[in-house]
Amino acid sequence: MAGSTPASLSAEAPRVAAAAPRKSRPVTPAREAWRRFRRHRLAVASGVVLLVMFAAVALGPLIWPVPINEIDFTAKLQGPSWAHPLGTDDLGQDLLARLLYGGRISLAVGLAAMFVAVFVGVLVGALAGMSSGRMDAILMWLTDLFLSLPQLPLLLLVIYLFRDTMKGIFGVEGGAFILIVIVIGGLRWMPVARLVRAQFLSLREKEFVEAARALGASKTRQVVQHILPNALGPVIVAGTIDVAAAIIAESTLSFLGLGFPSDVPTWGSVLRDAKDYLDIAPHWALFPGAAIFLAVLAINFIGDGLRDALDPRRVL
């Protein structure tokens, strides 16, 4: 070693010099991930789009202080104009104000339902993947059972049954929000659970997990530190798809009149109201539809970019 160390040091010297500017700013994993994320142009553009959307729904009602439920029959079903940039609906209500307000609900439902789905899915999948035998079988039966249930009728049934109870506890909007998030999230965890289980089954046999075990890592530590981070790529992608699916599911519920109360505008409920006027006022359906489309697309691209950025093996 005494012989080899100086030799290798001198061999390294030019490289060190060349890397000097890089060395002044150490490459942390987070910075590296950010650098990789920036390489994914669509993801960055989508991130900007999504940020603009978040800012718009958060700050929009302050900048565009038009009430969402001001009825004005003299201005009903108008196309975009300076007074109403996105036009009005059949009651003369300003669509921009309604979409800005509804976006809060739609995006919040989408993200919250995704977290519920990913959380339950990872939990079930990890438990099934780590435990072999009976526990695994039971959990997978449960997953298959949920997968085989017809989603929409079940969604409607659960909401129909529990709507009034939840309203009583959390109020009209809060109750609807929590119920919808739980129901949508609770019916979308199965693909995540299967993904995670499959990943766990192969990862837990990997040498690095055994190496961690041999070096004294407890079971929890093996799972949380070594297996889970390696299983995360597909979960992130599945999660972003879930956000999109949840926004659409909420739209469906609103469309069928079982989402939020009918006077609360969400992107889905605005779309539902617009369907009868497609021929006279296409702008009414176009804008909420475009909002859903844009949000879903942006989130999917971001998921794509995140997966690439968080996998250090991928050369970018």
């Binding site: 061999a11 150490p26 990997k206």
Partner: protein, 303 residues
């Protein structure tokens, strides 16, 4: 049920290097993993016997107690350096994790210690390499990192399960030399599992030859190479290609005919009998006992 390892008695003294040799499937790896109780249980189980570590039996210990011994007292490195490191963490994080786990240190101190370990295993520019991911290292470098991880808590025994098998020859020599160096510096014992007789001759003081889950010969390294008593050991040694002899007269490299018998239903007598060219009728009847044929030289053969 398969008795993958059956009545194997091994002992390692402080600062000693013990070689465990044998062909694939003879129970070397199972033996090594059993010592740290890394065998999945169930389906695996200990039928009988003891694992004595400094006079204390490890078999009754639970996982939490084992975790205190792993890495801190007994460490193990595996055959596959390419997959033994977690691909999503930097090398520094992984070494620091082990250090944090066993020694009361902050992350910062652990990272400093990790850099020191990398320097110790001759990785150039260790401070910067800490932030690199495993895929940015070559196979030999990764095995060095594995050794650094295993050594980071100064264990008293290092179990090396075919540490050089997946590496090319020059890197093999470097890794063996490195292990020797680390052993001299830190004064630990090494249990080196391998199927390369050359590696054994170079690094070990004592050798145990295993065949089909049994110890067939155990001897100091000079005695084993100078006077191999068991036909299997003789076969192993003869099957090493020798440059000097090949040049003199062209001859085929000797091989041991046949394969290891199935351990599902092992033959009653000597397990090597079916492949042994000296086998007699007595060999197939009863398992011969291990008998001493020289100082510290034991052999399980009736001949």
């Amino acid at each position: 049920m398969v008795r993958a390892v059956d009545g194997v008695d091994l002992h390692i003294d402080r600062g000693e290097t013990l070689g465990v040799v044998g062909e694939s499937g003879c129970g070397k790896t199972v033996t090594a993993r059993s010592v740290l109780k890394l065998i999945d249980m169930p389906p695996g189980r200990f039928e009988d016997g003891k694992i004595l570590w400094q006079g204390r039996d490890l078999i009754p210990l639970d996982q939490a107690e084992m975790n205190k011994i792993r890495a801190k007292e007994i460490a193990i490195i595996f055959q596959e350096p390419m997959t033994s490191l977690n691909p999503v963490y930097t090398v520094g994080d992984q070494i620091a994790e082990v250090i944090e786990l066993h020694q009361k240190m902050s992350r910062k101190q652990a990272l400093v210690a990790a850099a020191e370990m990398l320097r110790l295993v001759n990785i150039p520019n260790p401070q910067r390499r800490l932030d690199d991911y495993p895929h940015q290292f070559s196979g030999g470098m990764r095995q060095r990192v594995m050794i650094a991880m295993a050594m980071s808590c100064q264990p008293k025994l290092l179990i090396a399960d075919e540490p050089t098998t997946a590496l090319d020859v020059t890197i093999q020599a470097q890794i063996l030399e490195l292990m020797q160096e680390m052993k001299d510096k830190l004064g630990m014992a090494i249990m080196l599992i391998t199927h390369a007789m050359g590696v054994v001759a170079e690094t070990c003081q004592r050798v145990t030859v295993m065949y089909a889950g049994k110890v067939v010969e155990e001897a100091p390294v000079e005695a084993l190479f100078g006077n191999p008593r068991h036909p299997y050991t003789q076969g192993l040694i003869r099957s090493i290609p020798r440059v000097d002899r090949a040049a003199e007269k062209k001859q085929r490299l000797e091989a041991i005919a046949g394969t290891v018998p199935s351990l599902l239903d092992p033959p009653p007598g000597c397990r090597f009998a079916s492949r042994c060219k000296y086998a007699k009728e007595i060999c197939t009847r009863a398992m011969p006992p291990l008998k001493e044929v020289g100082p510290g030289h034991f052999v399980r053969c009736v001949l």
